[in-house]
C-alpha cells in the first residue's frame, strides 16, 4: 500500500486516494506519424525492473495529475513532480542517481 505525496496539494496519503495511469513522458504521435512511432506511443512500454517514471492522479483528492519516479523492484519512491513537464526534473534525477548509482535511463 504505497504512501504517496501529491505535489499539487501537498497531501501525503495512501494509494487509495490516487490512481495510476501508466508510463510518463510519452510523446504523442498523431496523424502523419509513422506506424512505428504511433505503435510505440500507444503500446510499447519500458516496463523496467527498476526506476520507472509514471503518471498518477490524485483522484480522491485535489484531482490533479502528477508524475512519480518509483522503483518497480522495491517500490521506493524517489519523488513526485509536476505533470506539466516532458522530462524528469534534475532534483529527481539526482535523487535517483544517489540511490541507484548504476541506473541507466531507458533509451
Amino acid at each position: 500500500m504505497l504512501n504517496i505525496h501529491c505535489p499539487n496539494c501537498g497531501v501525503t496519503a495512501e494509494e487509495t486516494e490516487f490512481h495510476a495511469h501508466g508510463e510518463a513522458h510519452l510523446t504523442r504521435f498523431g496523424p502523419g506519424a509513422s506506424d512505428d512511432d504511433f505503435e510505440s506511443y500507444l503500446f510499447m512500454r519500458a516496463n523496467p525492473k527498476g526506476v520507472h517514471f509514471e503518471r498518477w492522479r490524485h483522484q480522491n483528492g485535489c484531482g490533479k495529475w502528477f508524475h512519480m519516479a518509483r522503483c518497480t523492484m522495491t517500490l521506493e519512491i524517489f519523488g513526485t513532480y509536476s505533470a506539466q513537464t516532458t522530462e524528469p526534473p534534475q532534483d529527481i534525477l539526482d535523487r535517483i542517481r544517489a540511490r541507484r548509482p548504476d541506473w541507466n535511463p531507458h533509451p
Binding site: V11, N60, C62, K64
Partner: protein, 190 residues
C-alpha cells in the same frame, strides 16, 4: 417556485455514538482560475465573505466560507438562497479572465458529525490522520470516505462537516450511521 429540497431532507440520527445530520441545502460555488491573480482573489473574497484560505485550509464564518480545493480551484460557501447571485457577481467580476465560476450547490450535500467520538467515527471511514496534532479546525481535506470521494473539515473541536456528491447522500448517511453504531466506541481520539 418550490422550496429547495436537499437530498435527504435534512435527515438526522443520534442513536449512535455521535450525532449525524444533513445540513442543507447549502450554497456552494466552484471558482477555477489563477489563485495568484489579485482580481480573482478580490472577487472570491467578496463572494465568500472570508479571507483566501491557504493551501488545504478553509476559512469560515457562520454559513459563509471559502475552501482551498486545488491549486486552481476554490469552493465558496454561502447561504443557499444567495448562491445564484453570488455566482453571477463572481462571473461578472472575472469576466474576460481565464476563470470559471459555477454554482454547484445542488450537486452536493453537507453532513455534520458531532460529539466527542467524532474523530473516531471519521477515522473508520477516511484514510486520514485525524490526530488532534495532525488535523485541526481550519484544515480542509479532500479524500475518500469508504468508497466515495468527499471533503471534510472541522468547524470546531468534536465536530466535522463533510461534503460529498448528492447522488451518494444516502450511502454516506448510512455509512456514518453504521460507523457510529452503539457499542462501536474506539476511544482512540475521543
Amino acid at each position: 417556485m418550490s422550496d429547495p429540497v436537499s437530498a435527504l431532507k435534512n435527515a438526522s440520527d443520534s442513536t449512535g455514538i455521535v450525532q449525524i445530520s444533513e445540513v442543507g441545502p447549502a450554497g456552494m460555488i466552484t471558482l477555477r482560475g489563477d489563485l495568484a491573480d489579485k482580481a480573482l482573489i478580490k472577487a472570491a473574497v467578496a463572494a465568500g465573505g472570508v479571507n483566501l484560505p491557504e493551501q488545504r485550509r478553509i476559512n469560515t464564518e457562520g454559513d459563509r466560507g471559502m475552501a482551498w480545493m486545488s491549486p486552481d480551484e476554490l469552493l465558496i460557501l454561502c447561504p443557499y438562497a444567495e448562491a445564484k447571485d453570488r455566482t453571477a457577481d463572481l462571473a461578472a467580476a472575472v469576466a474576460g479572465q481565464f476563470a470559471l465560476a459555477v454554482n454547484v450547490s445542488d450537486a452536493r450535500v453537507v453532513f455534520e458529525l458531532k460529539g466527542p467520538h467524532a474523530r473516531d467515527v471519521m477515522a473508520k471511514l477516511a484514510p486520514v490522520d485525524l490526530h488532534p496534532s495532525a488535523f485541526t479546525p481550519g484544515m480542509f481535506r479532500r479524500t475518500r470516505l469508504a468508497q466515495v470521494a468527499a471533503a471534510l473539515w472541522m468547524p470546531q473541536e468534536d465536530c466535522f462537516r463533510i461534503v460529498c456528491f448528492r447522488s451518494v447522500a444516502q450511502y454516506v448517511f448510512d455509512l456514518l450511521n453504521v460507523s457510529a453504531m452503539p457499542g462501536s466506541e474506539v476511544n482512540y481520539y475521543g
